[in-house]
Amino acid sequence: MLLSLMIFIPLLGMVAVLLLPRESEELIKRVALLFTLIPLALAVYLFISYDRSNGGTQYAVNASWIPAFNIQYHIGIDGLSVTLLLLTALLGPICVIASWRNIEKGIKAYMALFLLLETGMIGFFAALDLFLFYVFFELTLLPMYFLIGVWGGPRREYAAIKFFLYTLFGSVLMLVAMIAVYLNSGDPGARTFDIPTLITLAATAGHALNDLNFQIWVFLGFFIGFAVKVPIFPFHTWLPDAHVEAPTAISVILAGILLKMGTYGLVRINMAMFPQGLDHFTNGVGFWGNSLALLGFINIVYGSFCALAQTDFKKLVAYSSIGHMGFVILGLAARNDSGITGAILQMFNHGVISAMLFLLVGVLYDRAHHREINGFGGLGTRMPIYTGITTLAFMASLGLPGLSGFVGEALSLLGAYDKFKMLTILSTIGIVVGAAYFLWTLQRVFLGTLNPKYEALPEINGREILTLVPLGILTIVLGVWPNFAIDMFRESVTNLIDVIQAI
Amino acid sequence: MTLQHYLVISAILFTLGIFAVLTRRNAISILMGIELILNSCNLNFAAFSRFMTPPEDISGQIIAIFGIVLAAAEAAVFLAIILAIYREFGSIRPDEVDTLKG
């Protein structure tokens, strides 16, 4: 019930916003903010009241939806989803506030679409029925397409359609895999989309879903679908464009949540449902056995080096996300305690940190109206507070211990080294390069003599600080006390590992 | 006269019709080609009904008669449209009526 509320309140908000007159912009913003704050409150409540000692599904709702195909409205949360739900609900209001001033035209449509987007995201993390899962997954596409395409930068049309087509391409393959799973889940009439049921079926020996070959193919289908979202190496080219063109708040959502949808799917579906397929790609034997870790490694190194070469501030951050998601993949490939925990932590932390980074880029862009890194210089003297916060975000992102970024990375690597020694060692290159591009950026933008063009650049204002502070606090808290988050999903991870090792 | 003869003739008619339809440079000739096709079909039906079905079953003939009727109706419509074409394009050469393409 609580969950359903959380999912559909933003939708309600969309309706409310649509009913408001187009002129009363302030009101629209306030309403939108309200309808993003309520889910946040609910999420916090869930986060607190979630029973950490049992990793199973909680707050489940299971109602029949389309009996003809045994499709159910089945939602529920476990430790992983509740963590990401909190992230989603947190970024919601922050993005509304971040869009408060710098969305000039069509604020009404903007807010409506944003609320729709939030419904899609929350629903996605809560769905426990494969069909529902897919519907919510796709539900995020359309609003995103418009939010980038209408309110984006100069090449927005291109970025928007690129994002749309890439993701759709991935998700049709996912659809095939999904239908295949459905058809093999039993005799006509007994078939199901219910994820927990499917997991148990896939684990029972002799069942059609338990067949290795089948699992490998279906794994691939889902994997490509999610890989586009993550994004994993060959499918990543949509990300920089989308980020560069999207308005600040949307970049935040894109990096903060949508990327996580990919990795979340990998955990929820690929790993839990197809342990044999997973094993085939991560058992460390031969090429295929290393393939997943290899992709993670490529993401890390490749993303970092690309970031190093960027001169557009936002593009740099975008590529850095590619690099950081690589750690998630690497950790998941390790599929042991520290690996998976690290990966999940990294999901959450990257959500927080990249959100900060994009907000910060936005702050600078709103003032200087360009993002050319070499076009700045010496801002440290002009806007000390902004510099301080940016330094914090950068340090967190380059994995400075004591800030959240470190824990996730470290755990993923520690876990991965267990299985993929060489790849992990090579991946540490990413750590150095990561430090390199962030420090270099820091130097080019903030250090050195002040660029006379920006003598009068105004300091970051209260509203912007307001959006950044909660994230900054999270960054520090999770860096100092990771158990704060880990407690939520420790048990769930243990269950997952049991499933994986059951084969 | 066996069934074969009828079939051969109808086949010839059909082919002629197709040939006319494909090659004639005049809408009227195309119409004639179409009529040929329909007639070959009618001939088929009649012949089959004569040779393949018991004498009391005349459904084949009936189909043939309906075929003739429909052919007539079709011809009427076709001619009307040809008139419209002539009014708009000042020609009834089918290859000149090609503003809609791609």
């Binding site: 890439y166 070469a309 520690l414 250090l447 158990n483 420790r490 | 494909l22």
Partner: protein, 747 residues
Amino acid sequence: MIVPLISIILLCPLAAFAIFGLLGLANRRFPRQDYLSTVAMLAALVCSFLLLREVVPNPEAHTVNWISLGGVTFSMGFYLDSVTVIMLIVVTLVSSLVHIFSMGYMHGDPRYPRFFAYLSLFSFSMLFLVVSDNLLGIYIGWELVGLCSYLLIGFWFEKDSAANACKKAFLTTRVGDVGMFIGMMMLFTKFQTLSLYGEGGIFALAANLNTGDMVWLSIAGILIFCGAIGKSAQMPLHTWLPDAMEGPTPVSALIHAATMVAAGVYLTARMFPILTETSSLVIAYVGGITALVAATIAIVRFDIKRVLAYSTISQLGYMMLAIGAGSYVAGLFHLTTHAFFKALLFLGSGSVIHAFHAMHAHGHDDEHAHAHEHGDHDAHGHEHGEDSDSGHILGSEIPADQDMRNMGGLRHKMPITFVTMLIATLSISGVPFIFSGFWSKDAILGGVLGRAMEWNSVHHYILFIMALSAAGITAFYMFRLIFMTFFGEPRNQEMHDMAHESPKSMTVPLLILAVLSLPVVNILWFNEAYVKPPPQPHLHAPQHAYISPDSNNTVGKGYTVSLFGVSEAVAAEEEGGHGTDGTHADDGHHGHHGPAHTIAMVLSICVAGLGIFLSWLFYHRRTLSAESVATTFRPIHNLFWCKYYFDEFYDGVLVALTVWKARLFARFDGSVVDGIVNGVGVVTRDILAAFTGAFDNRIVDGLVNSVAQVTWAVGGRIRRIQTGAIQTYLFVVLAGIVLLILIFRAL
């Protein structure tokens, strides 16, 4: 009692920084951040001294679960033994003094409060590192001190040289840290824990490893040591330290002389129990080479701070050498003594520089003027900066107020500074008996020689020679510094006239440190029962050692000094080899020890004296001319002058390579990945142009783009078929029918 004390020690500085940070968000300042930080530091200092009493009986660890996963847990906590306490005292002491000194030195700087906030943060991180009982904690403190050093080196970030220097420092050390992290990963995968002590700890587990694991263990040890190489500026990662002198001088004194750089040594000492023969030897050699090379470079520097920087590198090399050669106690002993006299030297040089600053600002006590002096001093900063990234080597680029060639004869102008610096110099040069440096350095030399003789190992003889010559060179260049700065005629009269003694807030710390440079510190090391070397279960004497491996004292001697001179002690290694702890530390008055130390002492005194004498000849008496020597040995001089071309190598090769690779990847991303079928794409675009003419090719680039182009091309073909001529359509129909029939006839 221990827990609250530690908590206070850690939290005070942290709080001082936190207050600054939080107020900073609101763009406010604590009225007297400097007092705040200093008081916090002093509180920590007091607590450290209290701990001295607490911990004597036996070391203990206090831990909490930091990250607990389903299977493994990472604990976080502190381990307290004598070494920890000594480090705590050293850090808090030097830090407090530097705080006080800075109040004078940094006075009036536009970012004065921030400076103290950073100092507090640094102190916290350093202390955290020191007390941590597990690798993860050490690593955290490790990186945090790195951050602080980054912030403080770049404190005057308007100066490009400073901006470059801080980046360089962070990155260079990070390279080492990655090595350390890999080492941690190896240890973790092996032992499933990262805490060092206790029966569940790495040391206990490592002790049970059999010889089959030695190679692995050595690699792990060396990788961990990589971290130390980075932080302690050992070869080949030493180049950042000289550049770090771009930071304010108190920072150089605190971070880049006394504490942070010493953390590498501390870490290596902590790792002592898992060091194997090979890893020890590697460490020793790295240390030895560093000591020698850095010293030779120092000979030819003219920038007073950089001379000290290289001497620091060299001294750190000493300590590494000591640890590597098994003289655990000696190494740490030298760490403490060095901390004091090197801090003193830096602060002294700082006071000199300060004097010249003030001079620039026309007026002796015109502090405010001197304040924005930093300002314009920084403004031109990028022109000088001798060792800055750009790798210029022309002396003319040294900041005027740090160039020893502008100094001379200052001893009358600044007596206190002179006397204190002289004491420090005597101490570092190893002038016998009344200076702490002598004892510690001699302890190292003795330890190395002792092991050499005992194992009869060539390696250790070589190392001993290195150390010895380094000692001589040290004496030489240190006195060169003294002579050039304080003796002789003022070279730059106008600057000389303006120079003046520094204010109390600066001279007092100097005096205190001067006292600390006397053997009084030996109190800490007074009896070997207080500092016991941990056992080294995996370090065995080579086969050709005089003493058969199985006998009791197969391992080199630890060594401690007392006020009363040299008292040798068999360090606990050998008992450690047999699992007992080193209680009876005195049963070792045999073997090659006595001779080793007498020899070492004599030799070291000789070389020191020689060094001092030479430098007296060169730079004071001037019977010999440095220039002529330089010309005669031009190539060698160049080698020293250009710092063995390390920077050139890194900039020219490594950095360039990285950037190039990055560019390459980016281009790769732009072209290849983004358009795997771009060739096809182009071709189809032409076909398309032929068939359909203009089309919107801003669809989606890359893979999708080319696929899209192909699709468009096909679409164009299909449109082509749609000619508009009805008879074509009909033809297609019939063709289609025939085709279908034929196909399915074939089936």
